[in-house]
């Protein structure tokens, strides 16, 4: 597994961020940077495609929580799809899935996030 990388694209109102690599401090900061920049441009709905992120640590999770809190202030949402079992379990245990949504596929995510 190599360094953390992002691919960002827009699907209508939704900003889709496809990640690859370890979602840790570095990975989390990169995601938050994109989210906050897009939030300045009035984007409120964000999806993370985590297909190529097989490991996440608690720092990465805490950064996602920050993003969720900021999105809540503007009635925005964060969602995820293509989660590895270890990542989904971590999200569940850390309580992330109470405030953000996990989807089974991109199609489902793009419909469900709005």
């Amino acid at each position: 597994m190599s360094d953390f990388n992002l691919e960002v694209r827009k699907e209508g109102e939704v900003v889709v961020i496809k990640t690859s690599g370890y979602l840790n401090n570095v990975g989390g900061e990169k995601i938050s940077e994109v989210c906050y920049k897009e939030m300045e441009n009035k984007s409120k709905f964000f999806l993370l495609d985590l297909e190529n992120t097989k490991v996440v640590n608690s720092i990465g999770v805490s950064i996602l929580i920050e993003i969720i809190e900021k999105l809540q202030d503007v009635d925005g949402k964060l969602g995820y799809y293509n989660l590895a079992p270890i990542v989904e379990k971590t999200f569940n245990i850390m309580g992330l899935t109470k405030y953000s949504s996990v989807f089974n596929s991109e199609t489902e995510a793009l419909e469900g996030i709005l």
Binding site: M1, S2, Y22, K54, V56, S58, I59, S62, T90, M94
Partner: protein
């Protein structure tokens, strides 16, 4: 009346206060709500609520007309020192705050400060500016400030409690995640049996749970001085080659305990990996250290920090689990290898082997069994023997007898009605016992003897009829399991066949070889030799395996002479047909070989191997066209029967000394 109106106004403000406080989780909203309400109630234009933070000195929860650029570093220190909990006018002559801070606040037009103490903890300070038109604050104003500040303090305290609760919840969740990870790995022990997959899973989970930035799992191999990275995470491939002789690994191996390294340790491993913070645990199973787990850099939001004892405890638990799982996976690999080998042996034997479990159900059958039973595996497995062999009373009786008496029973040449009344078998049934001698079922052996001629036909391709008959008459002679025995090997090779075949049509090449081999093999079988191999235009013939007799060497020489004579006749015909004559060189050697079923698990052949065979082939290479060259051992055994010429010793590949060779004088 005016006072009553004012009181009414203040009461309505207090009523509004309740609504502001209701959204207790969002402290910023509470702060700005309270500030707006207070300033509006007491008719002040400016104000700020400043809270103390551990990381920063101060934090502005809410401001109105108040610059955040103000330096209030000593304000909290002074208030904490004096512990005054009442609102006070900063113009009053007191020493509650230092003059510099007082000046700063006055520049911001702040008049009243209300320290927000919860018991002895200063949670913040409420700053209030001058009253509208520079009027003085009334006693009622001060009272309402006290009431609102008291509620603000409670809200701040509640918020801190909620924060603390959230942190505790997060800590508990992290512990839960650690336990879940340990549980997952313990599940993997019984479910994941691929070492690579398992080690990757364990490493990834460990890196994530310990907030490490990278990691690797190193396996130690007795012969290799370098620890082999079986799995890596975020680690540069070129930097992960480390010697197991490094003191760190030696110490861990000796103590069987992991450790963490910090910047000041400056070990060779830290230098080699160019990392300051490392945590290393052994993959320990009892007294055996399978390898090591190495993680690096514990991440926090502020950067990297040192690993600690709690991290070491957690990684040790993970490594212990991982080591057991990896040991299991390795054992499974060995068992699978052994099982495949056994199955390969079972499938290579001609006897049908069927195993029956303790409940009387068939649980395995080898490929010979499938052939004899003429059924698919799925139609056999799981059937009770009573049902499966219902047409064969004799077999059922024998099985029951074995079950009750716990000893082997055999019967020969019985009809096997389960297949057809024409099928004849030899049948035996034995108890299947485990290491503790407890019966775990039965093993049935079925030998199909319906068509002995089929066997003869098959064997006749390789050995003469006489040898086949001998083998069928006496099983003891047929030892295919691998043994040392003395044989005479004969190699023949057509000289210059490759260049000769280049001048011929492909069909001619095949027909020449077929005619030649047919003539030669007839002679071989006539002399009871065993055709071991045909390699291109070369023949390898063995005398003395699988059955031996005292005149093996004599028959080998006889065969060689007859072969050369036959070639002369063959060539006469070829010359008449204007075909190129062929010339053959023959080498014969006698000595010890290892004979048996040799080859891969997938493909086994009965053959002989050893130095004797190699030298036989070399002698064939040394023989000129139409010559028969033998070794001393062949010459010695047959010198009284055949005429030999002693040749100059020759040097052969693979032998240090020269070899004495003899040529047969025809």
């Amino acid at each position: 009346m005016e006072n009553l109106d004012q009181l009414d106004y203040y009461l309505s403000s207090i009523n509004e206060l309740g609504e502001v406080l209701i959204d207790a989780e969002k402290i910023h909203k509470i702060g700005s709500g309270i500030l707006r309400l207070t300033l509006g109630t007491i008719m002040a234009s400016k104000g700020a609520i400043i809270v103390s933070k551990k990381e920063k000195n101060t934090h502005f929860l809410a401001t109105q007309g108040f610059s955040k650029e103000i330096n209030l570093s000593s304000l909290f220190k002074d208030l904490n020192k004096n512990r005054k909990q009442e609102p006070f006018d900063i113009d009053e002559k007191n020493n509650l705050i230092n003059s510099k801070t007082k000046e700063e606040l006055k520049n911001q037009k702040i008049k009243i400060l209300i320290p927000l103490f919860h018991k002895h903890d200063l949670l913040g300070v409420f700053c209030i500016g001058n009253k509208f038109m520079n009027q003085s604050f009334s006693g009622l104003d001060i009272k309402i400030m006290r009431i609102i500040s008291s509620h603000l303090t409670k809200a701040l305290y509640n918020h801190l409690l909620i924060k603390e609760l959230d942190n505790k919840k997060r800590e508990i969740n992290l512990k839960l995640l650690e336990l879940e990870t340990l549980f997952d790995i313990s599940v993997a022990i019984s479910s994941v049996l691929n070492i690579e997959e398992l080690s990757e899973d364990v490493l990834w989970r460990s890196v994530g749970i310990l907030n490490a930035s990278k990691g690797m799992l190193l396996i130690q191999n007795e012969e290799n001085p370098i620890l082999e990275p079986i799995s890596t995470f975020n680690w540069d491939e070129e930097k992960n080659l480390v010697s197991k002789k490094l003191n760190v690994f030696k110490n861990i191996k000796e103590s069987k305990k992991g450790l963490f390294l910090v910047e000041k340790d400056k070990t060779t491993l830290q230098k080699k990996l160019n990392e300051k913070n490392l945590i290393i645990t052994p993959l320990q199973v009892k007294n055996k250290t399978l390898g090591f787990m190495v993680l690096c850099n514990k991440e926090t939001r502020k950067g990297v920090e040192e690993f600690n004892d709690l991290d070491l405890d957690l990684l040790t638990a993970l490594s212990n689990q991982a080591a057991v799982a990896m040991e299991n996976a390795a054992l499974f690999k060995d068992i699978t290898k052994e099982k495949n080998f056994n199955e390969s042996i079972l499938s290579s034997i001609a006897t049908g082997v069927i195993t029956i479990n303790i409940l009387g159900e068939i649980d395995s059958v080898n490929s010979a069994g499938l052939k004899i039973l003429k059924k698919r595996k799925e139609d056999i497995i799981g059937n009770h023997y009573m049902y499966f062999f219902e047409k064969d009373e004799e077999i059922i009786e024998l099985i029951i007898k074995t079950e009750t008496q716990n000893k082997k029973h055999t019967t020969v040449n019985i009809p096997f009605y389960s297949v057809s009344k024409e099928t004849k078998i030899n049948f035996s049934v034995s108890p299947r016992v485990d290491k503790e001698e407890e019966i775990k079922g039965l093993v049935l052996a079925i030998e199909d003897i319906t068509d002995v001629s089929k066997i003869k036909k098959t064997f006749k391709r390789y050995v003469s009829k006489q040898v086949v008959d001998e083998l069928l008459d006496d099983d003891a002679k047929l030892n295919l399991g691998g043994e040392k025995r003395e044989v005479t090997v004969l190699f023949s090779d057509i000289r210059g066949f490759t260049s000769m075949s280049e001048k011929m049509e492909p069909e001619q090449v095949v027909s020449t070889l077929n005619n030649y081999f047919s003539l030669m093999i007839d002679i071989v079988f006539k002399n009871n030799g065993t055709l071991d191999k045909i390699i291109g235009d070369e023949l390898m013939i063995v005398f003395g395996a699988p059955t031996s007799s005292s005149d093996d060497t004599e028959r080998a020489v006889k065969t060689a002479i007859e072969m050369q004579n036959k070639i002369k006749e063959f060539n006469k015909q070829r010359i008449i047909k204007k075909e190129i004559p062929i010339e053959v060189g023959i080498g014969i050697n006698k000595g010890l070989v290892v004979s048996g079923n040799i080859g891969s698990r997938e493909l086994m052949d009965y053959t002989v191997i050893g130095d004797t065979v190699n030298l036989g082939a070399r002698l064939c290479s040394a023989a000129g066209p139409n010559e028969i060259i033998t070794s001393s051992s062949v010459w010695f055994k047959t010198k009284n029967i055949y005429s030999y010429k002693k040749l100059e010793p020759i040097k052969v590949k693979g032998k240090k000394d020269e070899i004495q060779v003899y040529k047969i004088q025809k």
